[in-house]
Subunit: 343 residues, 2 copies
Amino acid sequence: MIRTIEWTDDGVVMIDQRLLPTEEVYNTYRSVEEVAEAIETMVIRGAPAIGVAAAMGIALGVANLASKENVEENFAAIALRIQKTRPTARNLFWAIERMEKVFQKVQDRSLEEIQSAMTTEAVTIHREDIEINRKIGEHGQQLLSDKMTLLTHCNAGALATAGYGTALGVVRAAVENGKKIQVFANETRPFLQGSRLTAWEMMKEDIPCTLITDNMAGYFMQLNQIQVVVVGADRIARNGDVANKIGTYTVAVLAREHQIPFYVAAPLSTIDLDTPTGEGIPIEQRNIQEVTEIKGQVIAPASVSVANPAFDVTPNRLVSAIITEKGVATDPYGESIPALFEK
Amino acid sequence: MIRTIEWTDDGVVMIDQRLLPTEEVYNTYRSVEEVAEAIETMVIRGAPAIGVAAAMGIALGVANLASKENVEENFAAIALRIQKTRPTARNLFWAIERMEKVFQKVQDRSLEEIQSAMTTEAVTIHREDIEINRKIGEHGQQLLSDKMTLLTHCNAGALATAGYGTALGVVRAAVENGKKIQVFANETRPFLQGSRLTAWEMMKEDIPCTLITDNMAGYFMQLNQIQVVVVGADRIARNGDVANKIGTYTVAVLAREHQIPFYVAAPLSTIDLDTPTGEGIPIEQRNIQEVTEIKGQVIAPASVSVANPAFDVTPNRLVSAIITEKGVATDPYGESIPALFEK
């Protein structure tokens, strides 16, 4: 069992994902500021995991309040600090909204009761995320056949969630159902979530996994060695446009070219009904050193001009289905996605 | 002026491309074995540069012969050593064939005359390669408009040739003709020829260049920030299928999706009239450590399964034109390519 993030009496414990796979280091984060920095620096990443960390960061901030004085302003400042960490993942804002709702309900009670309610909600979000992932896995695995080889991009696994994973949850559920699944993992430059995290997760569970660089996926599709693509998502617009790790769009174009199904696995908390299309999704531009250096080793000329968009948007026409805990949505997404929220 | 490879009285001098861009180290290679290893370990790479190195390696091997005894067997062994270095680049075999032809013509003369003829031929191949690149550049630059932004993959520059370059020769010629060209350089995992070599070449000549990871090209095409793609080639089949650095096929699929022209710039020595289609082109599978380590830093779990095909094949239907020193070939390539050899 991979422990991504946990609430403890000492604070929020997270595995430092930047050090994987060579080191497994668990650190304790004891303030909202420490959790916010952990999200910003990608100690923890993956939309659902960011949502859990956001909730726990807020609970921690409230738990650290010494008195009830200005509790509303203090709560707002805590939530704002978390809100500013990263712009793209919908789950971050979804988790903040959930914590806000609970706060509004209990803010007139004693500080201790407020703190307890916040902690309870954060721990609930954590627990529910694992349950949701298992449901996504169960729905998704029905789309996979025995002996399929599946390509995934980035890490939408246990490390990207409270546990089990979304895209890799689909893989795990298929394997639990006796299907022999082979995985191709795109290494996912620049941050290498595929080589460092997905390959590591798959090896931990003895699921056959072949690591490739991002530009090799087309080659293996040409050879008919990939039958299906499953990825996670950072934010899904109301019309089914999918923001996910940079490079996902390219995988979707390649999948369409080879008539391979392209599935997105994500909880409803990743879906943003208030954003009509992908054009409205903010794309984070990250530090260029993620591109020009790897583990401190310089791999590009000094002062070269670099772009580093962290996400791209796959238009709904390239998405074969969106797998959620409430079932599988397909085209027309403008109808099927809102319908999921009615279930 | 970037000096990729040169024949000197001491031996063959090459810049060690593995150390770029952080170190500019020129080494002297004094035997056919040393040159062969330099090709295998990618001290020198790029199909035309490999061709020049192959010719010089053979000339060096013959120059090192102490007597004329068994000269035919010795020449065959020298040529075979070079032939076994890398399988995909057509120019390697083309250069060997040129050296063989000269050898056959002079093998009855004195050892000194044979050695002199071999050296002359190798130096001629070197000189001609630069002239050919300039002609490719002149033909290719006519396809580019002022203020275009061009995407290239891998390095088909001065470092991939005797000088000037094929794809980057087209860029250089356009700039020399007063066109303002911006370049996007795919970093080109796993060996990073884009970030280490192409970005370095462009910066040396103050040609605006933005470095991106390979999986970002689709994002910038979506934003209409790329108007044309120009790449080199390692081997072109008679029907116009193009083997080039892994990831080229993906770029071609993306270019088609966005209705962006996809041009291949290469000398006739890269075209293999004896290979009817891309299916007949051998694809080199290289050491997996190129994927799992960068400059000695481990970026993947130990003993993970890894694939490392060094090239892929872009089918002719995705190729808008092939730019050669004899002119520009377009569909139907089965007619236009053989016609180039008649000119």
